[in-house]
Amino acid sequence: MIIRENTRDSVSTITLAGTLDALSAPELQSFSENSALSPNVVLDLSDVDFLDSSGLRVIRGMALKKRESGGDVILACMNDDVRKVFNNTQLVRLFHIYDDLDAAVTYAETNKKSI
């Protein structure tokens, strides 16, 4: 799993690439615990080819944590296999999901303290 972070319009964007499963989920977990991120975070999933429930659990945990302090995790660009996991577990209802990275960043930027 490749994890990269950069800031766009004062929004932390985390770009993931590869497989997010029980083997790699701990990497994302520790990354999110050890990074100083903006209140709203965009997760760019365009290069994630596979997601399992362990990956889902970490993403969900990140979002619930962010919400405790008025922020959120916004999801962008998931492929059909990844979306299926969100749909099948109904976690799709928990997230703002965008097919376009710019739209996700704009949403995160404009909804800074409104959540």
Binding site: T19, D21, A22, L23, F50, S53, L56, N88, T89, L91
Partner: protein, 145 residues
């Protein structure tokens, strides 16, 4: 389709479990001359095996002897079954959707498997947990066949 892979109950073997699941499902699809739905079928098996294998590893009872997880693929007509077995303690498979907004969160693994597969059967046999996951491949034949 009749093939078995025996892996140590360690997470570093997860990708071997999942690539085997995908490829077994692909070979099964080819054997039926399936044309459509192959990707989704293979993804469902990959994900279901990913969930069960990682459960087997996570809940393995470690002792001096190395523990294994066995995955067997078998087919009957248009149905493929992945049978995952481990020597963990018995467990009661609770398949309800956890509260998606409760934190910390419960397991989505078994729930996901149920969504993906047509049939999921849990049994305990000779000190082993067996999870049998079956899915039917709806075959649309290639034009002209």
């Amino acid at each position: 389709m009749n093939t078995t892979i025996i892996l140590p109950a360690e997470m570093c073997y997860l990708r071997l479990a999942t690539v085997t699941a995908w490829t077994a499902a692909e070979i099964f699809s080819n054997s039926l001359n399936a044309e459509n739905g192959i990707h989704d079928f293979c993804h469902a098996f990959k994900l279901a095996v990913c969930e069960t294998f990682s459960n087997s590893v996570r809940h393995a009872v470690h002792s001096k002897e190395e523990k294994n997880v066995t995955i067997r693929f078998s087919s009957s007509n248009d149905r493929l079954t992945a049978l995952v077995s481990d020597s963990n303690l018995p467990f009661d498979p609770v398949i309800t959707l956890p509260d998606i907004e409760k934190y910390p969160e419960g397991g989505f693994g078994l729930f996901l498997i149920r969504q993906l597969m047509d049939e999921v059967v849990f049994t305990r046999e000779n000190g082993m947990n067996l999870v049998a996951m079956t899915k039917k491949l709806t075959v649309e034949h290639k034009q002209g066949n």
